[in-house]
Amino acid sequence: MQEGNIVVKVCMGTGGIAAGGTAVVSAFREELETAGVSASVEKNCTVHNVGCRGFCARDVLVDVIVDGEKTTYEYIKSDMVSRIVEEHILQGRPVEEWVVKDDYHTFHEKQVKVVLSDCGEVDPEDIESYVNRGGYAALSKVLTTMTPEETIGLIKASGLRGRGGAGFPAGLKWEFARKAVGEPKYLICNADEGDPGAFMDRSIIEGNPHSVIEGMVIGAYAIGASKGYVYIRAEYPLAVERLKIALDQARRKGVLGDDIEGRGFDFDIKIKLGAGAFVCGEETALIASIEGNRGMPRAKPPFPAQKGLWGKPTVINNVETLANVAYIVRNGADWFAQFGTEKSKGTKVFALTGKVKNSGLIEVPLGISLREIIYDIGGGIEGGRELKAVQTGGPSGGCITAGMIDIAVDYESLAKAGSIVGSGGMVVMDETDCMVNIAKYFLEFTQAESCGKCVPCRIGTKRLLEILERITDGRGRPGDVELLEKLSNDVRSASLCGLGQTAPNPVLSTLRYFRDEYEAHIHEKRCPAGVCKNLLTYSILEEFCKGCTMCARVCPAGAIVGEKKKPHKIIEEICVKCGACFETCKFKAIKKG
């Protein structure tokens, strides 16, 4: 065997680690070491940690590459490693039963990877592995052959739009800051990814932090910034750690800090840890937070590009936006613009989750149909149930119904349907999901995250939530639907920042498409999806009940009575409607309704 011809890559994103990735890596190290005593395998083998490759539901994913031939294993546990080493690495026979099946490949087939192209390939803790795949070449190109104006022109020509939510053209933002008067200028990377259901920013930083750093340095050169910040959630400890390592390595390599690549350009990046406030994803609140204050937004104008951090011109770009930059510079604006639609260029990373078979992180060209995402990439709905709706854009977004499954996923089409691309959360829901409950869930979130500065958001979201609570509790009143609609519109128009302005979207969009569901809750005191606890009753179908006593044992309230081997009974007054019996019963003898 030749040196380096065996490579083992273990997925070590948050998903991989949670599934036992650390143990798998050390098991490989140990096994190889033991085996290597006689077979010199150890010397030839390297075990890489790689970042998230998207398909976290199958973790731990392991690539074993022998002589350039890659075999991917799924659901690997540490106790399975010895067999892989023994059979595959030592004897050259892959362990077929653990190798990924066809759906692993279909998951990847329709994807187009730009931002994620190196995630899962490079070792995020080693700058050289990024450089070997062409990393930092874009930076050299910009510094040696392009003026800042040309750089901005290139990004404008590519059509790259902000990937954080609003979709503002990135090149234009840079141009505003370039032209703004004031020194120093700042570039902030917004990694305060807070939308529940979105985790692309975390994965990008965990998987390929240098792509973000390279994008930031190029951006800083373009706008003339000398200082940068990455504002990142403290809830992402692994991403923070990898970013720190990456920043140190970048400084040592001379692609960050003073006199970058000897071109007389200075730019350094500091990490600022968020302290847990969703509203800090809003530009002006984020700035307040970096300045060490309560993260309360302020009115715009002036926009941060004119007056931002410490009153100086500031650009705030989202992680994914910045991660695109180096690839655009490397491959050209036309290359990037070939993906996507007329107005929505490039690819977008989505976090596909919920009731879909293959959940994970996917990158697709904008304009792809929702059907392709859900059925081709996602493999369809879990448990063979029916698709009901797809929630996109998180708490600021809305729902796309099953009937609109052929919609093109881009900024304009989703907006037209009453939703948004947002940061890219995509939660798939089936007929067992109650849309009123989903609206309530999002309102709970935004209401708890409202900063409290402006009245419509502080009290308005509270009142919206109260109305939704009473509807789902069976205390809904006639007129509540109209009141929800009215208040939602007012909160949307009158709120100070994006949080309040978009908080009613989940309500408005579910009202638009699932009004009958609201009405069933209010007028018939019925939850069609069978989710809202107070509107449910559980009963036992005598003809199916075998008297196995399982339900009585799991009931936390002691509401189920009956003799062994005889039909049981639920005492309604005591029942807390937790549904434990329903899920435990093997004979489908419990009726929910």
Binding site: S450, G452, I459
Partner: protein, 347 residues
């Protein structure tokens, strides 16, 4: 530099850099506000001053938006009034409905807005913030259930007074103005916060239960405490000063210190000196002004005769005006003949 803008169909010239709210006020166009105070930094929190600008998708707050050449502003229309109405209604849904016994009734901006928007019913009644604690400090009654989070008290304490005794704590519906760790207020008690509060959340303890707005007679005066000469307005009910305020258009811009604002009890104190006293046989006895002045003049003359003018020294007071202090040193130098004259504020 001026720019010309159109507000509600009227084209007006306003200074560059002014906000829409300032421009409207300068032209007598009314826009309701709760969180604005021209003396403080704009906040944009209450959202009542929303106006429509032609070409902009959503309404903007007049208090934070600067004017620009050719801007066309609408300060009132059905949509805007509808939003304002919802905002006031939301505020009232989280506000104790006790105007009948509230000290602020008749002088309360929220009450006034409720009146103008005719908000008798409320579509949004729900959970209301309830705070049990009361603040044991001697001067400021804090009733945070009535607070509408306009942030004026916090801003005045920080921007004007430089004390930062209070801050908005928590967030969202639970947001609350309070001293650190929600203890009793422990500050200078300048009461600036009380003076800017648009509702009954902050009131002077000394004035509680002393009289309704309609019974109050306002008397303009000058604060007697120091040489600053702050303009004050005495609120008098039943021949008693029950509160002191100051007009924002006064030379002191309406700002007062603890003494000027809360130190008015002496005015009706039975111990207050109303006549000169002369000590005779070890006891102070009431005397007439003529008698007292004659006595002082006579004694000064005697001392000067016997020990020379430099045996006499004069100490003046910071509570006197500049003019009075000038006269006093003149008197010491020219009439008494000594340079021994000084002033309490020198140290």
């Amino acid at each position: 530099m001026t720019v010309s803008i159109t507000i509600d169909g009227r084209t007006v010239k306003v200074r560059e850099g002014a906000t829409i709210l300032q421009a409207s006020r300068e032209n007598d166009i009314y826009i309701p506000t709760l969180c604005d105070d021209p003396r403080l930094e704009p906040y944009g929190g209450c959202r009542l001053c929303l106006v429509q600008i032609k070409g902009m998708a959503r309404p903007v707050t007049a208090c934070t938006t600067p004017v620009s050449e050719g801007m066309i502003v609408e300060t009132t229309n059905e949509e805007i009034e509808n939003l304002r109405r919802t905002i006031v209604e939301l505020l009232l849904s989280d506000h104790p409905n006790d105007c009948m016994i509230c000290e602020k009734a008749g002088d309360c901006t929220l009450q006034e807005l409720a009146y103008f928007y005719n908000l008798r019913e409320n579509r949004f009644y729900g959970e209301r913030r309830q705070y049990a604690e009361s603040d044991g400090n001697p001067f400021i009654e804090r009733n945070m259930e009535k607070c509408i989070l306009c942030g004026k008290c916090v801003r005045v304490c920080n921007e004007v007074q430089g004390v930062s005794a209070i801050e908005i704590a928590y967030r969202g519906f639970s947001a609350k103005v309070c001293p650190p760790f929600e203890k009793d207020l422990d500050c200078e008690f300048c009461g600036q916060c009380v003076s800017v509060c648009p509702t009954g959340a902050l009131m002077g303890k000394l004035s509680m239960g002393k009289g309704r707005q309609k019974d109050i007679e306002k008397v303009e005066s000058v604060c007697p405490y120091c040489g600053c000469g702050c303009n004050i307005t005495l609120h008098v009910a039943r021949n008693e000063v029950i509160r002191v305020s100051s007009r924002p258009d006064s030379l002191n811009e309406g700002w007062l210190c603890v003494k000027g604002r809360f130190g008015f009890k002496f005015n009706s104190s039975p111990d207050r000196l109303k006549h000169p006293l002369i000590k005779r046989n070890g006891r102070f006895e009431e005397a007439s002004w003529d008698e007292a002045l004659d006595y002082v003049a006579q004694r000064l003359g005697e001392i000067k005769e016997k020990h020379g003018a430099d045996a006499i020294a004069g100490l003046s007071s910071a509570r006197c005006t500049n003019e009075e202090n000038y006269l006093f040193q003149k008197f010491m130098r020219a009439a008494v003949g000594t340079n021994n004259v000084d002033h309490c504020a020198r140290y």
